[in-house]
């Protein structure tokens, strides 16, 4: 194997280098200067993110185990960008004294998990996919338990690792059935049949757990609530985004022949996911739980693009995940900075926020409007195109249910807007200034939320890549 062939795995290689550099460099900072790791790692990761966007090779490696197309590169870039924003937003939290002794671990775990996701996206073989899945999951469980002296955080970690293991077990069982039929695990050599459908269902259940699709969503709210805010944002955006990408790729390429069957599975889970996610979100008081259920509902909307199953549908999914990443990260960023400044995480704590922190309130409002799909911000375009792709398959009933769910979701998003702008509070959160990196992170998100919708070039670019998968 030649070196330039190796460069096909550019993203994974770069991330591994970053991982090693952070690990080594941490040894060189004295105990007093540990917090310098934060700036250093973020800067390093920023460079990697930028390099990712440069044109790179596509191709197949390891006899078909690994393959990279323009679309998978784009997906990896979206994840990189998301992680970069998470890094920017978590600087303030990592500087706290309680986290002093484990700063670099945060970066190591996140990057390791990201490498796993990249391998999953590029896998051409179920074996590769399962290894990637494990690599992506186990560090996240450690991250969820990051604040080890906080009972809820520890609980989140153990909950996540146990349930993940269970879900992976189910997935592997599905894969074993598929192997039993075909005698191979390469995506390109699989055949269809009723047993294959069974295998697909088991495999789907495992991944559905990652995306927290109803009825595999029960862990989501507890883990999101228990984990530190920045970990939650990683979980709800990066983890979920990667799982959505993989599910879409697997359904549309590997199980293409089974489309007649999985369409109805997707239909039913989409309806359940958005409805139940939305209805539970209404009752939440804690912002992290609230966004947990809202992100469950968003996954239901994403499935409307998968069900379309054509080029436009794939484009809509990737496009929506990009928008969702910006919007959700903006919302989590605001929550994180408020949590850092005051330790408050309830919706009622946001009462009267506009009076004291107008800029943060505006960012939050734009993010929530984008999540709700209100024009002129990008969320509207993302949702509209998801609906369009569902309608192109003739699923008008699903579109109607989805559109009504948008209205329901608007209700609870408006509750937060109401708290910030309309409700009055006797003890509002004091005016504060969040640190520079957090502000940069929020600004990137806001620019993304506003620009991605209007700039049709981005959509057309994704569309042109979606042709070949």
């Amino acid at each position: 194997m030649q070196l330039n062939q190796f460069l096909i795995m550019q993203h994974e290689v770069l991330l591994t280098i970053v991982l090693i550099i952070i690990m080594i460099s941490e040894l060189n900072f004295s105990t007093k200067n540990k917090s310098k790791v934060i700036g250093f790692s973020t800067f390093l990761f920023g460079i990697v993110t930028v390099i990712g966007f440069l044109p790179s090779q596509t191709g197949v490696l390891f006899g078909g185990m690994y393959k990279n197309t323009d679309l998978t590169i784009l997906m990896k870039n979206i994840l990189n960008l998301g992680v970069f924003i998470v890094f920017l937003q978590s600087a303030e939290w990592l500087r706290k004294p309680i986290n002093q002794d484990k700063i670099s671990e945060f970066y190591l775990l996140v990057v390791a998990s990201l490498i796993g996701m990249n391998f999953m996206i590029s896998s051409g073989n179920f074996l590769m996919l399962m290894i990637g899945l494990e690599l992506a999951t186990i560090p996240v469980a450690a991250l969820a338990a990051f604040e080890q002296f906080n009972n809820k955080s520890a609980e989140a970690g153990i909950k996540l690792i146990l349930l993940s293991a269970f879900a992976t077990g189910i997935s592997v069982f599905g894969v074993s059935i598929i192997y039993g039929i075909n005698g191979t695990l390469y995506f390109t050599e699989l055949s269809s049949g009723s047993l294959a459908t069974l295998g697909m269902i088991f495999f789907f259940s495992g991944l559905a757990f990652k995306i927290s699709i109803v009825p595999f969503h029960l862990w989501t709210a507890d883990v999101y609530e228990g984990a530190p805010v920045n970990v939650t944002s990683f979980l709800s955006v990066i983890s979920k985004g990667a799982a959505v990408f993989i599910l879409m790729i697997v359904l549309l390429t590997v199980f293409k022949t089974n489309q007649g069957e999985w369409v109805w599975i997707i239909y039913a889970t989409a309806v359940l996911t958005m409805t139940i996610g939305n209805l539970f979100a209404i009752r939440q008081q804690n912002l992290k739980r609230f966004l947990a259920f809202s992100s469950i509902a968003q996954a239901g909307f994403i499935f409307m693009g998968v069900i379309g199953g054509d080029q436009a549908g794939m484009t809509a999914v990737v496009y929506f995940v990009l928008i969702y990443a910006f919007s959700n990260l903006a919302a989590f960023g605001v929550i994180a900075s408020i949590s850092n400044a005051s330790g408050k995480e309830l919706i009622s704590d946001f009462n009267g926020l506009y009076k004291t922190n107008p800029k943060l309130s505006l960012v939050m409002m734009i993010a929530l409007f984008s999540l709700a799909g209100i024009p002129p911000v990008a969320g509207f375009f993302g949702k509209f195109f998801l609906f369009t792709s569902a309608a192109s398959g003739g699923y008008y009933g699903l579109v109607l249910i989805g559109a009504i769910n948008v209205t329901i979701s608007l209700y609870y998003y408006l509750l937060v807007v109401k708290a910030m702008f309309i409700n009055k509070s006797e003890s509002p959160i004091q005016t504060f200034k969040s640190d520079g990196m957090m502000r940069v992170g929020l600004v990137i998100c806001v620019i993304g939320i506003i620009m991605v919708g209007f700039a049709s070039q981005i959509y057309e670019y994704i569309y042109s890549l979606s042709l070949v998968i």
Binding site: P375, A391, T407, K418
Partner: protein
């Protein structure tokens, strides 16, 4: 680039300018000057449009501009106007102009108030110039959402409840519209050609009748929610009553017209067969709106509720006339939209001004106001007379045209509903005259009301501009009616084929 885009651009630029200035009075002046420019622009548009028509240009839409936006989906930013949209734009420009002056005294978060209000108006302008369903839908939602903040923050009474109810009901309506739009889109290709969101292109296609039967009711009800179609009108009284003055004006005056406009431009125009098939059902609903709204208004004691229910009644009349599917009645519907827009805006402006002086909106707590505030009182009488359809004012022209058109149908069903709807005029006279009598005439009921001051200069600007428009429309309706009549021809041609 067509100059029509300016109608969206100027409000956005005005908002940007407002963000830059600091003091409250500067905010007001920037907002006002932006909307004055908008008003001038609207006047220029009317003149240019009439000149162009006079020169013999008989294209269905003028000043068209079309640029591809999302190429692979066939989404364009396509704009253009016909006589109806020109009339609507003129109406919007007048109402927002009056609205800015009516809310001159907003003191709490002034900057945010004007920004939200003007963003809302840019959505309305954008809606009226769009001929692409996607952008139309986009602007529709832009016009609805600021309403939540406007009512929630600056409203009165149970404002949070009303704001939420209004927003959610309208968004549920837009959920139906969304399905309708997508249904039209996926049936829009001619012999397997490219799909399009362009209304004029879709109008050339005969959409299969099965699809029409499914999508017409969705679209009509979706827009009907905003047009206060019974039984989806319940957001309207609460919303109008809780909203601050300018928002009530804009909402009842202009935003409810988006519903009527969408109903005929999208639902009826593009799905003519289903329209003819299902018109009877919606005619019954709208007749209920007309009568129910009028009787509802009689029972109310709060000035804003009276006018909110009267809006339900009058907007019901708009949809009622549209569904009559003949050119006279439909032209009446357009005139009614404009007439109602002007006079409700005037009503709500006056109610806001009276309320700020008397601190009550209850009719039975006021009396003899004619002596204390003659200018506002006389204006109120004028608005009332326009509302009950006095000849010489705008209401008469509209309602007369509607009922003449409706009476052209000679079958029993249409006769009965027309007579029922006609009866609403009498009921309107009852509640208008009762309010005028109780509130403006007679002795003072509250001693504090004896010393209140009459209107200030900015209030006069607001009121006079609306009264001028009402009288102009009442005295010389022909130039307006000719303009809309012509533009209705292609629509009625398409609808008539299937009747």
């Amino acid at each position: 680039m067509s100059f029509l885009s300016l109608f969206v651009l100027i409000p956005i630029l005005t908002c940007a300018a407002i963000m830059l200035v600091r003091s409250k009075s500067n905010v007001r002046w920037v907002a006002a000057s932006g909307m004055v420019i908008q008003l001038i622009l609207a006047a220029v548009l009317v003149v240019l449009y009439l000149l162009e028509r006079k020169a013999g240009n008989d294209a269905p839409m003028l000043f068209m501009y079309d640029v591809t936006w999302f190429k692979s989906l066939g989404i364009h930013y396509a704009i253009g106007v016909d006589g109806i949209s020109v009339a609507m734009i003129a109406l919007t420009a007048i109402v927002i102009f009056a609205g800015i002056f009516a809310s001159w005294q907003v003191d709490y978060l002034t900057k945010e108030f004007f920004i939200s209000l003007i963003i809302l108006s840019s959505g309305v302008f954008g809606f009226f110039i769009s001929i692409d369903l996607f952008t139309m839908f986009l602007f529709y939602e832009v016009a609805v959402i600021p309403m939540y903040l406007l009512i929630g923050i600056w409203g009165t009474g149970p404002k949070e409840y009303s704001a939420m109810k209004l927003t959610l009901m309208l968004m549920a309506g837009s959920a139906f519209i969304l399905v309708g739009i997508l249904g039209l889109y996926f049936n829009s290709s001619i012999d397997g050609g490219p799909l399009t969101f362009n209304i004029l292109e879709i109008a050339k296609v005969n959409i299969p009748i099965e699809a029409q039967r499914f999508f017409f009711p969705l679209t009509f009800v979706g827009f009907g929610v905003l047009g206060a179609l019974f039984p989806f009108h319940t957001w309207s009284p609460d919303g109008h009553a809780s909203a601050p003055t300018a928002v009530s004006m804009l909402h009842a005056g202009v935003l409810m017209k988006l519903g009527g406009y969408g109903c005929f431009r999208v639902a009826m125009f593009l799905m003519p067969e289903a329209t003819n098939e299902m018109a009877w059902f919606f005619i019954i609903l709208t007749s209920i709106s007309v009568i129910y709204g009028a009787f509802g208004a009689i029972m109310q004691k709060d000035l804003k509720y009276i006018n909110a229910y009267s809006s339900v009644s009058h907007c019901g009349l708009v949809l009622f006339a549209l569904l009559m599917i003949n050119q006279t009645a439909m032209n009446g519907a357009i005139l009614q939209m404009i007439s109602h827009g002007l006079m409700t805006a005037l009503f709500f402006a006056l109610i806001g001004m009276i309320y700020s002086r008397t601190h009550t909106r209850m009719v039975n707590e006021m009396g003899g106001l004619m002596k204390a505030i003659p200018f506002l009182s006389v204006s109120y009488v004028i608005a009332g007379l326009a509302s009950l359809g006095l000849p010489g004012l705008s209401g008469f022209v509209a309602e007369m045209t509607i009922f003449v058109g409706a009476f052209q149908h000679s079958d029993t069903f249409h006769r009965v509903v027309t007579i029922v709807a006609c009866a609403s005029i009498v009921v309107t006279a009852v509640y208008i005259l009762r309010v005028v009598g109780a509130m403006l005439m007679g002795p003072f009921k509250n001693e504090e009301h004896e010393n209140i001051k009459d209107s200030s200069w900015f209030e006069r600007i607001s009121v006079v501009s609306l009264i001028i428009a009402i009288v102009a429309m009442g005295v010389a309706p022909l130039w307006l009616s000719d303009m809309t009549w012509e533009s209705l021809t292609p629509i009625i041609d398409k609808l008539d084929v299937f009747s």
